[in-house]
């Protein structure tokens, strides 16, 4: 009994510690990197609303409103643009406490730890976007849905209606979340016995709930009257666009590599664990714990599908898929390791030693990453290979000699998961950006500002037209937001800039989009963030990247943007 008294205290303490760690990891030095173009899209809208201007369009009104609040309270900076997402990311870790009854005490702690240091969760939470908020709301609504089915209450129904309306205004991520919830709700309805469903719906007034939902939906869409023209379902269109095919086909091999590289445990353990939960659920439909796991499993598997079918390998979509899988994986590992008894712990010394080796390996990577953001040729890969071989041998020996091999394997996998996740997070957040995501670095910002400043007026004194490639337009607009009388044109993308005839004064485009110089224009190159694009089949490079985050210079494209200024 004494253990019972101490348990919650220790457990709560540990949990709060993890929440604190998550908060620190998500909020420290949020302005380390300039806003990437897709981040500036949100920030720009919020800034325009804050400064009394009317945005052209938005696709995640609720996220923009959250950013607006942040700007109004703390000023419009890169850090404050990212703050709502960071707070939502922290809230996600905290929200796992609600799943304690379904997943178990220690499993929830491990899941929280994994989410706190998960690479894609960290990357997404440290970027200005709607994904963290959408994931948090989805998690809460999913939990609420199961709770509601168990013990229906008017308050939870009202909260659910409002939450669903807000979720639908959280961009493509929110619509994805709503679809997960809808499908899970339908599965719940299909599987639950009729009497329990009937009980759940008794005493509610659907018309009132629908009205509440619609009012919230309209209010959010109109930006709480700040942007009445924004009323609509722009998030759905953003969701549809998310799946638009890029000109050269789906990047799914690259997408898989990136997800596998950063979220290997979530994939390797979370997917099978999710499938097992979903397989068992129809046999025990009244088991809420199983329903909770199935909710996460369904979300994870559908999220994976959405991620793989998406037109870009975005960190946000990766996060939406890997978050529930990480939670499920953590719970499964902790549950497995919890079967270890005293004697097994002794037998598990080998894995423990190797876990330490891997921790050392993680520390090496961390130090490497901290030393240089550039591609590394250091000793990380060989060390990683040695550690991997030792790990495999020792796990095998320990599993063979232990009386509970499955439990030992789970404990070993748990150690490996922690270290791998830490390692991946370190190289993602400290050394390089998310592969494939366009980034504008500080130098680039400075050059753009200088060039555009110079070319602001023509000889006739009229405002100069600036034609900016679609992807980069919000970034340029954001960084030049204070420039007087200067606004980027609404011209189309500039994929084929050399064919432009008598055109604008300044042209900006991605370097690779251009094959020739433009007659009558001076060319100036602006650096973008260095990127590495993993390629299918380059196994050595791939292994080095997975083990040590190393990429040789020829695999890294120091991406650049090109400005042409009419001479």
């Amino acid at each position: 009994m004494g253990g019972d008294r101490r348990g919650p205290t220790l457990e709560l303490g540990l949990f709060l510690g993890l929440v604190g760690l998550a908060f620190l990891l998500r909020t420290l030095r949020l302005d380390l990197q300039p806003l990437a173009p897709q981040e500036t899209a949100r920030a720009l809208v919020a800034w325009q609303l804050a400064s009394g201007q009317t945005p052209e369009w938005w696709d995640a009104p609720a996220a923009c409103l959250a950013t607006l609040i942040s700007f109004l309270l703390l000023g419009a900076t890169e850090a404050t643009a990212r703050l709502p997402s960071a707070l939502a990311g922290t809230g996600l870790v905290a929200a796992l406490w609600l799943f304690r009854g379904w997943l178990g005490r220690w499993p929830v702690l491990l899941s929280a730890a994994l989410v706190a240091i998960s690479p894609s969760a960290l990357a997404t939470s440290r970027m200005a976007g709607e994904e963290s908020m959408a994931a948090l709301l989805t998690l809460l609504l999913g939990w609420g849905m199961i709770q509601f089915w168990e013990a229906p209450s008017r308050r939870s129904a009202v909260l659910g209606s409002v939450g669903a309306a807000v979720l639908l205004h959280l961009g493509y991520a929110g619509v994805s979340g709503a679809l997960f919830l809808l499908l899970f709700g339908a599965a719940l309805y299909a599987l639950r016995p009729s009497d329990s469903a009937g009980g759940a719906l008794r005493g509610l007034r659907p018309r009132e709930l629908l009205l509440l939902f619609l009012m919230t939906f309209l209010a959010m869409g109109g930006g709480l009257l700040l942007f009445p023209a924004g009323v609509g379902f722009s998030s759905l269109l953003a969701w549809l666009r998310h799946f638009d095919l890029p000109p050269d086909g789906l990047p799914w091999p690259q997408t898989l590599l990136i997800l596998g590289g950063y979220e290997l445990p979530a994939l390797a353990i979370g997917v099978p664990a999710s499938l097992v939960a979903l397989r068992r659920w129809p046999g025990r439909p009244l088991d809420t714990a199983l329903a909770g796991r199935s909710f996460l499993g369904l979300w994870g598997l559908l999220g994976l599908l959405f991620y793989l079918l998406g037109g870009v390998a975005s960190p946000g979509a990766s996060f939406l898929a890997s978050l529930p899988l990480t939670i499920v994986a953590g719970a499964a590992l902790a549950a497995g390791a919890a079967e270890l008894k005293d004697r097994d712990w002794r037998m598990a010394q080998g894995p423990a030693l190797l876990a330490l080796t891997l921790l050392g390996f993680g520390a090496i990577t961390l130090s490497q990453a901290a030393q240089s953001a550039a591609a590394s040729q250091g000793p990380g890969a060989p060390l990683g290979l040695v550690a991997l071989a030792l790990t495999a041998a020792s796990f095998g020996m320990a599993a063979l000699s232990a009386p509970r091999p499955r439990a030992v394997a789970a404990a070993a996998a748990l150690c490996a998961t922690l270290v791998l996740t830490l390692h991946s997070s370190a190289r993602l957040t400290l050394s390089s950006g998310w592969p494939g995501v366009l980034a504008l670095d500080r130098d680039g910002v400075a050059v753009v500002a200088e060039q555009v400043g110079l070319a602001r007026y023509t000889q006739q004194g009229r405002q100069q037209e600036i034609l900016v490639e679609q992807d980069l337009r919000p970034a340029v607009a954001w960084y030049l937001r204070e420039a007087p009388r200067l606004s980027p044109s609404t011209g189309s993308g500039l994929r084929y800039a050399p064919q432009v005839g008598a055109g604008p004064g300044v042209i900006l485009a991605r370097e690779e989009a251009v094959v020739e110089d433009v007659a009558g224009y001076q060319r100036r190159v602006v650096p973008l963030g260095a990127q590495w694009t993993p390629r299918w089949g380059e196994w050595r490079a791939l292994a080095r990247w997975l083990l040590a985050g190393e990429a040789s210079p020829d695999e890294v494209s120091g991406r650049r943007m090109v400005l042409w200024v009419r001479s």
Binding site: L179, L182, L183, A186, A187, Y189, A190, L191, L236, L237, W239, L240, R241, H242, F243, D244, L245, P247, G249, L250, W252, P282, F306, L309, L467, G491, S492, G493, L494, R495, Y496, A497, P498, Q499, V500, G501, G503
Partner: protein, 806 residues
């Protein structure tokens, strides 16, 4: 390979989505419609994508397809609440059946993908048209899609099949040139499994006679395989003649008498099969009466194997799996007690709403399919009503009338944006009736040309007619045991009648009394089988027998008879009428109606193989008729399969050479510059409406290739096809001249207004244009227009109308 796997996985996902719907829809079939889940899932998804695109709710694309797939999954989950336990139990008990169906689908899909991989080129015949329509369905953000060969107008053709294939391509992110070939493989596999399942269900129902509630035994699947072979694996007997002729067998007199165009002059071969290029084409141009070198009755007699081998992604090919789906639906309706009167249905909404949705889609996939299969569906309902009707009662027929009217109206209303547009087209044609090239008036006309020669007819239909005739006569014999030896009648009577007619045609003058009768026989022979079939269908004795009043399903033989009777009706129609079209003959009528006859008789034939085989091999039966019948059938089928094997080897060049599913890979080899330019154009954002100018010229040539390969509309592609689609050339007039004017003008500033008038964004100058216009005129574009793309072989100019910078 990745695309192949992606298509297969997507097909499986669609099947899973459609499973609850199929369960609700095919409650009376022993396999519960398992084999039809893939076309059903695709059709439901495609309908939602099309409807939302037509109503401008959501833009057509991968996102919309995925969203609607999720909504279908949602509906399926809700259905599971009612039927989940029963479904799970069925799947558990019939796991082997599911595996067999899936293995058959995967095997057929892979097999036909391999066939396509050895002749994947999208060039020649009507492939450019099919590719154009597939591309425009992919590029369109809303429906109807823009007409790629007549900019400024939308497609005026049944395009739903292209949309369905485009949806699969969207979901799997497959490039159009690969999707084209995979679509053929998908259709082939879906049709094979559908036909097999239909026959297997019929056999099971007949064998079990309602004793078992579900499942399909293995032997029934074997007969299903026979049905699939009859539908998709078999050619006609002309292939056998090709073989004989290629090896110098048969005299010149025989070949001249047969008068199959080109066969008498075909070269001999050293290989075992004919090696003359395109020899296999002749099997689809058998029927004709040539007098003094003039063709009086040029017709097309395609059959499914030929269509898949040729590789034209035409509506009648795309329609096959969906037609089979509707035939299965008709069977279910026939078996469902109270389906017509709306009684005893477990889930009322779906069985009421889905049949019109499926039926209406047929006309949208292939216009020729709607009427025959709507008729079949309603006839199945009528047959059921006839069976259920207590004597001297009118009330059920009133219910039937309402049901039939509601179904037919629903089928049209659910596709109103399409059928409404078609109505507008008819009106437009009528208005254009006084112009030069226009089709006007009542759409049907009497066919007063020569009839089909019996020799030609039998070359086409011998195996399937043999089966249909056997079924008819055996049923008649059961109905009236004193009617003699039906097998003997079939075996001896048909060739005898054929010889009699041919002899009469050869020796008797057509103007004498006897001669006129002989010449008339080919035009009226079908009245006999029709009368017999009709009598059997309406006979209450053929309905009764093994069933207890309303508790067990009725015998399926009347339904199979219905298929055969409808097939004969369609043959009769093609001998008597023609659809009024721009060709002014019955070429298309025979083509499209015979195609349906093949499908109906193949399904009926698959069942007949079982039906006759079961009877002749039953205990206590000894005699020569059974083995003789089986031997004759085997000979006929083997003779027809000669065509398939030989043509397959010819078309794929014996599976030697590089294999690829990319239908434009040949262009990369022959004209890499053009391939690069087309790729560049294909990347233009699809949200923005573009018009690209290219030279226009004759049909079945390289003209129109830019629009065809990209889906971006051009001013005028194949003018002849536009006239066919629109029934008039009124919208085309002046375009060819304007195109010539733009390309040929030496001072391009004079034609800029023309470019603006047509909204031309890009002007394409490639090999075809250089072959038609003087080089100095083409070079004159530089200056007034900016160069948007240039390589060694192609220049694309950008006009002011271009909506994308650069």
């Amino acid at each position: 390979m990745a695309y192949l796997v992606a298509w297969w996985l997507t097909a499986e996902a669609l099947a899973l989505l459609a499973l609850p719907y199929a369960w609700a829809l095919f409650g009376r079939l022993p396999d519960r419609g398992l084999a039809f889940t893939k076309p059903l899932g695709l059709l439901l998804l495609g309908y939602l994508v099309w409807l939302s695109g037509s109503l401008r709710l959501l833009p057509n694309g991968r996102g919309a397809a995925l969203l609607f797939a999720l909504l279908l999954a949602l509906g399926g989950l809700l259905l599971l609440r009612q039927q989940g336990a029963a479904m799970a139990e069925f799947c558990r008990r019939n796991f082997r059946l599911i595996l067999l169906y899936e293995a058959a689908f995967a095997g057929a899909f892979l097999a036909w993908a391999v066939v396509r991989a050895f002749n994947p080129q999208i060039e020649g015949t009507e492939k450019p048209m099919d590719f154009a329509l597939l591309n425009t369905a992919l590029r369109a953000t809303a429906f109807s899609p823009p007409d790629p060969w007549l900019s400024g107008y939308s497609v005026n053709y049944y395009y739903f099949g292209y949309l369905l294939m485009a949806t699969l391509a969207q979901l799997t992110a497959t490039p159009p040139a690969v999707a084209y070939n995979l679509a053929l493989a998908f259709l082939f596999a879906a049709a094979a499994v559908g036909a097999g399942s239909l026959v297997a269900n019929l056999v099971t129902l007949h064998a079990k006679r309602g004793a078992g509630d579900e499942g399909v035994p293995l032997f029934a699947l074997a007969y299903g395989g026979a049905g699939a072979l009859l539908l998709l694996g078999m050619g006609n007997l002309e292939g056998l003649l090709e073989l004989l002729h290629a090896h110098g067998l048969g005299g010149d007199d025989l070949w001249r008498w047969l008068n199959i165009k080109g066969l008498a002059d075909a070269p001999p071969t050293m290989a075992w099969h004919p090696t003359e290029p395109w020899w296999w084409w002749r099997a689809t141009r058998i029927i004709d009466t040539v007098v003094n070198g003039q063709s009086l009755d040029y017709t097309i007699t395609e059959f499914p194997f030929f269509s898949f081998l040729l590789g034209d992604l035409h509506p009648h090919v795309m329609g096959i799996p969906f037609v089979l789906l509707v035939v299965a639906l008709s069977l279910n309706t026939y078996l469902e007690p109270g389906a017509v009167a709306g009684e005893g249905v477990t889930t009322p909404l779906l069985p009421a709403a889905l049949p019109p949705l499926l039926l209406g889609s047929l006309g949208f996939i292939n216009g020729w399919d709607l009427a025959p299969y709507l008729l079949l569906f309603l006839a199945a309902g009528a047959l059921r009503t006839w069976r259920d009707m207590p004597r001297q009662t009118v009330r059920p027929w009133m219910g039937f009338g309402l049901w039939a009217g509601g179904t037919a109206l629903g089928a049209l209303l659910l596709y109103l944006p399409f059928y409404g547009g078609l109505g507008a087209q008819v009106a437009q044609s009528a208005l254009a009736g006084q112009r030069d090239v226009a089709v006007a008036g009542f759409p049907l006309a009497w066919w007063d040309g020569p009839g089909t020669r019996p020799a030609h007819f039998l070359l086409l239909w011998a195996p399937l007619l043999f089966l249909a005739g056997s079924l008819l006569l055996m049923t008649a014999r059961r109905h009236a045991p004193a009617s003699g030896r039906p097998l003997a009648v079939v075996l001896v009577g048909v060739p005898a009648v054929w010889l009699l007619i041919e002899a009469g045609r050869a020796w008797l003058p057509p103007d004498g009394t006897v001669g006129a009768a002989v010449w008339l026989l080919p035009r009226v022979w079908y009245l006999g089988p029709l009368a017999l079939g009709g009598a059997l269908l309406l006979s209450r004795r053929s309905q009764a027998g093994h069933e207890e009043a309303g508790t067990s399903p009725p015998l399926v033989v009347p339904f199979v008879l219905l298929l055969a009777v409808e097939a004969v009706l369609l043959v009769a129609a093609s001998e008597s009428f023609r659809i009024r079209d721009v060709f002014g003959n019955r070429m298309n009528t025979v083509f499209k109606l015979y195609y349906q006859v093949w499908l109906l008789l193949a399904v009926a034939g698959g069942f007949t193989v079982y039906f006759v085989h079961a009877r002749v091999s039953s205990a206590g039966r000894r005699g020569w008729s059974g083995p003789l019948w089986m031997g004759a059938l085997a000979l006929l089928v083997a003779g027809s399969c000669v065509y398939s094997v030989a043509a397959l080897l010819s078309k794929t060049e014996a599976f030697v050479g590089p294999a690829t599913l990319d239908g434009l890979a040949y262009l990369q080899r022959l004209d890499p510059e053009e391939a690069e330019a087309l790729q560049w154009l294909g990347r233009l954002p699809r949200e923005q409406e573009q018009v690209v100018l290219e030279a226009t010229g004759g049909q079945y040539t390289r003209f129109g290739r830019v629009a065809s390969s990209t889906g971006i509309p051009t001013l005028l592609g194949w003018a002849g096809h536009e006239v066919q689609w629109r029934g008039s050339d009124v919208l085309l007039r002046g375009r060819a001249e304007d195109i010539d004017r733009i390309y040929a003008a030496s001072d391009k500033t004079q034609v800029l207004s023309l470019l603006e008038r047509y909204g031309v964004g890009y002007v394409y100058v490639g090999a075809v244009e250089r072959g038609k216009y003087p080089p100095e005129a083409l070079a004159a574009f530089e200056g007034p227009l900016a160069v948007a793309f240039k390589n060694a072989g192609v220049v694309i100019y950008k006009s002011r109308g271009a909506s994308r910078t650069g």
